[in-house]
């Protein structure tokens, strides 16, 4: 456990000045800020909406961008970055000749990538709530304060996190094995596009494909709005135990363990 904590701290120390680390802060800020100004400019069109609808549109717009393309690609990038830092500096041989177990080195790296994903999603949640409320303060006609979205939104982001774990494990392993940029990033990008298509065309087995999970999650949150007999006020339901989440968790755990055995057997060239 000590080795894990030391390695985790070292991961933070090493990456704190890199793009990987700052992208997890800048990305949510940029997207939320952009939508904030969009809503502020068009606030006259929104003043008659009830608080719930305002939140649905504001948070929904952010989630829509996030879930489809940005979250999978961010994870592809994070998984690549935490491994590439060692490929680039040729430090794998040093890391594995330190008196720290291979398990600690490997798992600390994985959990650090997971930690960055969590930070990013938490900031998305925080900025969504913050900028939403700020819109309400700057223009009191926008009744954001009418409805409390915090709990629901937190659940949505938690589900989004669970839905992205499969991608994280697969990308982490790819980035660990391939030192070049193109293979993990190319595969990740192609698979993300494939996932978007699968989820959008509503393919029956899309839930088996990890890269489709974030978008499936977004789509599952607003089922009643998607339905034909939509009620006047849509319902938001967050069901954690959907098939895609189960698959995501199984893939995440299986690939993570498989990765460890590969590290254990692999020679450090």
């Amino acid at each position: 456990m000590k080795g894990f904590i030391l390695s985790f701290r070292s991961e933070f120390y090493k990456t704190r000045k890199t793009m990987a680390f700052w992208s997890t802060v800048v990305l949510p800020l940029a997207i939320c800020l952009l939508l904030f100004f969009g809503f502020l400019n068009h606030s006259d069109r929104l003043v008659h909406q009830p608080g719930f609808m305002l939140w649905l549109q504001f948070a929904g717009a952010i989630l829509g961008v996030m879930g489809s393309l940005i979250l999978p690609m961010l994870i592809v990038f994070l998984a690549y970055s935490v491994n590439n830092i060692e490929h680039k500096a040729e430090t794998w041989k040093t890391l594995f000749s330190l008196p720290i177990s291979k398990w600690a080195v490997y798992s600390a790296k994985y959990f650090y990538a997971l930690f960055l994903t969590i930070v990013c999603l938490a900031l998305f949640l925080l900025f969504t709530l913050g900028f939403g409320n700020l819109l309400g303060i700057l223009n009191p006609a926008l009744k954001f304060s009418e409805y409390h979205v915090e709990g629901t939104l937190a659940k949505i982001y938690l589900k989004l996190l669970l839905s992205s774990l499969g991608i994280l494990s697969v990308q982490f392993l790819l980035s660990l094995l391939f030192r070049d940029f193109l293979k993990p990033m190319g595969i990740g990008f192609a698979a993300t596009i494939a996932g978007i298509i699968m989820a959008n065309v509503g393919w029956k087995y899309a839930y088996t494909f990890p890269y489709a999970h974030p978008l499936l999650t977004i789509k599952s949150i607003f089922p009643s709005r998607m339905g034909e007999n939509s009620p006047p006020i849509p319902q938001i339901t967050v069901d954690f135990f959907t098939k895609d989440i189960v698959v995501s968790l199984i893939v995440a755990a299986a690939v993570f363990i498989l990765g460890y055995f590969i590290v254990l057997k692999k020679s450090v060239k």
Binding site: R9, K93, T94, S97, L98, K265, S267
Partner: protein
């Protein structure tokens, strides 16, 4: 023995890189691990650090089996393999702090190391902007940071200027003499190791061709008598007529195998009596560089 390997073998694909290597590195020694490029030095070092899995044979370090005591053994080793592994986006100091963090070494030790390898001034400069020599010195500082009992250095003087080479050499000698460390240092240049090594292992094509103390190595080289004269060809013919073997001849000197001091005196007298002026006559050991070449080329 600090390092003791028995029948160590390793192959990449079909290529046998290390062949039944039995290394014996005594405590408190500077062991020069010599061989031409591609002889299997780095592979051997990676085997010693458990980075590569041994095909056959065993490795014992500090008297313990490496595979079953990996972490406790590695905690007493500092290593530098091939080109130093340095995070180029971090400064020299940050590279050391990161390692100190991992090894739970106090931060004060970082400054000590920076001073030791003379990187104090450049400590806050990005390591990516360091010259090759500075990177190498940072690599040595990283290896020394945990104050290890055994230092394993792969070509540590690569890229260093003559001053840097002398400094590293003196540092290693000091570590062994004053701090009772053991140093295992690989090189493809004998001259570099000759002046500090107490023990030598010579490897070529994965095979250990010689192992022993530096004195053993010198002993197997035949001593010679080097005679400096004006007319080397005439003198050589003259000596041959008198039953001496001339092994080497150049413009200003010739060499004859050494057998005894008396023989040296006899040659001197003989030449003087026959009006050959002798500028100098003395015993020499065969150049270790030549010896090294002989050993590696014979294989």
């Amino acid at each position: 023995m600090v390092i003791d390997t028995q029948g160590l073998s390793f192959h990449f694909g079909n290529q046998q890189v290390v062949k039944s290597l039995s290394l014996q590195v005594p405590e408190g020694s500077i062991y020069g691990f010599l061989g031409p490029n591609g002889a299997g030095k780095t592979t051997t070092i990676k085997l010693l650090l458990n980075l590569l899995k041994t095909d056959q044979g065993s490795i014992r370090i500090f008297g313990k089996d490496l595979v079953t005591n990996r972490i406790s053994i590695l905690s007493q080793i500092g290593s530098l393999i091939e080109q130093p592994a340095i995070y180029s986006h971090l400064s020299g100091r940050e590279n050391l702090i990161n390692r100190a963090l991992l090894l739970q070494v106090p931060e004060s030790r970082v400054d000590e190391m920076l001073k030791l390898v003379r990187l104090k001034e450049a400590a806050n400069k990005k390591a990516g902007k360091y010259s090759l020599g500075m990177k190498q010195r940072l690599g040595i500082a990283l290896a020394l940071l945990p104050d290890p009992q055994l230092l394993i250095l792969d070509e540590p003087t690569n890229g260093l200027d003559p001053n840097g080479i002398i400094e590293v050499r003196e540092l290693l000698i000091r570590l062994v003499n004053q701090h009772k460390k053991t140093v295992f240092v690989s090189s493809h240049l004998l001259a570099e190791v000759e002046r500090m090594a107490t023990h030598v292992g010579i490897i070529d094509k994965g095979e250990l061709l010689f192992q022993g103390s530096i004195k053993d190595l010198e002993a197997i080289s035949q001593p010679q008598v080097q005679i400096e004269v004006d007319t080397t060809v005439d003198v050589a013919n003259f000596l041959k007529k008198h039953g001496f073997t001339v092994t080497d001849i150049s413009e200003d000197h010739l060499t004859v195998p050494f057998s005894s001091k008396e023989q040296m005196g006899e040659i001197n007298t003989l030449l003087n009596k026959n009006n050959y002026q002798v500028y100098s006559i003395h015993k020499i050991q065969k150049d270790l560089e030549k010896l090294f070449l002989d050993i590696t080329q014979k294989a």
